[in-house]
């Protein structure tokens, strides 16, 4: 199971055009028209028109605005996504979230309030959710 999750995460990584490697510290405002992968530490603000992935070693102290987000590391800040927010088993979100679809895997931690907005356009996407 863990292997599958790792593969899922790695699959996302390959599509990221902006990547922050582990051990690298970034601060400031990051705006991107594409996907962002963060394995290091980031503080400031993230605004992506694509997806944002926070890897297992990633730590983000910033609000995130994105199309979709997958959190396997730590996020201290609000997460606003247009579609889907995935908090994986190693993920931790301390902040408020806004999304169409929220998925928290067993072990994942979400601390804050959530707003589920809009209709789910594609009804075939049905994901189990877990209360924490």
């Amino acid at each position: 199971m863990a292997l599958i999750k790792k593969r899922e995460l790695q699959a996302n990584v390959t599509h990221a055009e902006t990547i922050v490697g582990a051990g690298v510290a970034l601060s400031g405002k990051l705006e991107a028209k594409h996907n962002i992968q963060i394995n290091g530490s980031f503080s400031g603000e993230i605004m992506a028109e694509g997806d944002v992935v926070v890897g297992t070693d990633g730590e983000v102290n910033a609000p995130i605005h994105a199309k979709n987000a997958t959190i396997a590391g730590i996020v201290n800040g609000d997460v606003n996504v247009v579609n889907e927010l995935d908090i994986l088993s190693t993920g931790k979100v301390n902040g408020n979230i806004s999304a169409k679809i929220l998925s928290v895997k067993p072990g994942g931690i979400f601390s804050g309030s959530s707003i589920m907005h809009g209709k789910i356009e594609d009804q075939s996407i049905v994901k189990p959710t877990y209360e924490t």
Partner: protein, 279 residues
């Protein structure tokens, strides 16, 4: 069309290809003046003369070093630039889709002109990349220690301030290698989109997390912007298009649509930008 060919007699394949290239150009009906250079800097002087003599096209027959000399003069000038690669690596030629000297001749005959971006640092232009090594390997002193003990590897701390419309980033990392290119890493093609995205693409290979594990590879960070300042450790060697060209600290900018370059019309050519994979 008045063409000036600048031929580097010191290029790797110069001796074998000189007559062949001249004959091929002649057969294609491509005439022009030929100038030969043998030292760094001569090509830049000759290209400068082209500006005063109503030359429409300058063609570099050589490698990346000579191309770097010539673009210093031709940037933002109304002169077309062609490349016939006969150097060691021919990085620039590969970037613009020219994979061989014959391919370069064909581009002169049937190619199209694209206004490609260049990079700019300390008032000098670069095409392919700027590279800065931040890793230093020091052997232990003493006869036995130098052979038996592991060398000491250090990674210099660097600070990079990066700006882009809407974004402003401050990056801190212990650097193994920093590569900056006006073109996307691992990209393919010589299309207008590829050569003119008006951004600098920055790849940071930073210190591996586990230094004791030989299999651990440097962490990679990829970001983009149009202006960056590199500070932190001073005096690190900067290589621009493969040539030693100054030391840190440095400010690097993108020079949008700076060079009118001839690229092959054949869209099926598969040029590659291997800068990112060169390590």
């Amino acid at each position: 069309m008045k063409t000036l060919y600048i031929f580097n007699t010191q290029a790797k394949k110069a001796r074998f290809l000189k007559a062949k290239i001249k004959k091929t150009l002649e057969n294609m009906g491509l005439s022009g003046q030929f100038a030969e250079v043998s030292k760094r800097g001569e090509a830049q002087k000759i290209a400068s003369l082209a500006l005063t003599k109503d030359i429409d096209r300058v063609v570099a027959i050589g490698g990346d070093g000579m191309i770097n000399d010539i673009i210093q003069v031709l940037a933002y000038q109304p002169i077309e630039f062609g490349v016939i690669p006969i150097g060691d690596n021919n990085l620039v030629a590969h970037l613009i889709g020219i994979n061989s000297w014959m391919n370069g001749c064909m581009a002169l005959k049937n190619g199209e002109t694209i206004e490609m971006d260049l990079g700019l640092y300390d008032d000098r232009y670069f095409t392919a990349s700027i590279e800065i090594e931040g890793k230093q390997t020091a052997k232990k002193s003493g006869f036995i220690a130098s052979r038996l003990k592991k060398p000491v590897i250090s990674y210099y701390p660097m600070t990079i301030d990066l700006k882009k419309e809407g974004s402003s980033l401050h990056i801190q990392a212990d650097i193994s290698r920093l590569t900056i290119s006006p073109f996307p890493f691992g990209g393919r093609g010589h299309s207008q989109d590829f050569l003119t995205d008006q951004l600098l693409h920055i790849q940071i290979k930073s210190r591996p997390e586990d230094l004791n594990n030989k299999k651990t590879r440097p962490e990679t960070t990829v970001v983009e912007g149009d202006y960056l300042e590199i500070s932190g450790k001073t005096g690190l060697q900067i290589k621009a298009d493969g040539e030693n060209s100054g030391k840190t600290p440095v400010v690097i900018k993108v020079a949008p649509k700076a060079l009118k370059v001839l690229v092959p019309q054949d869209k099926n050519a598969t040029p590659t930008s291997n800068l990112a994979q060169s390590e």
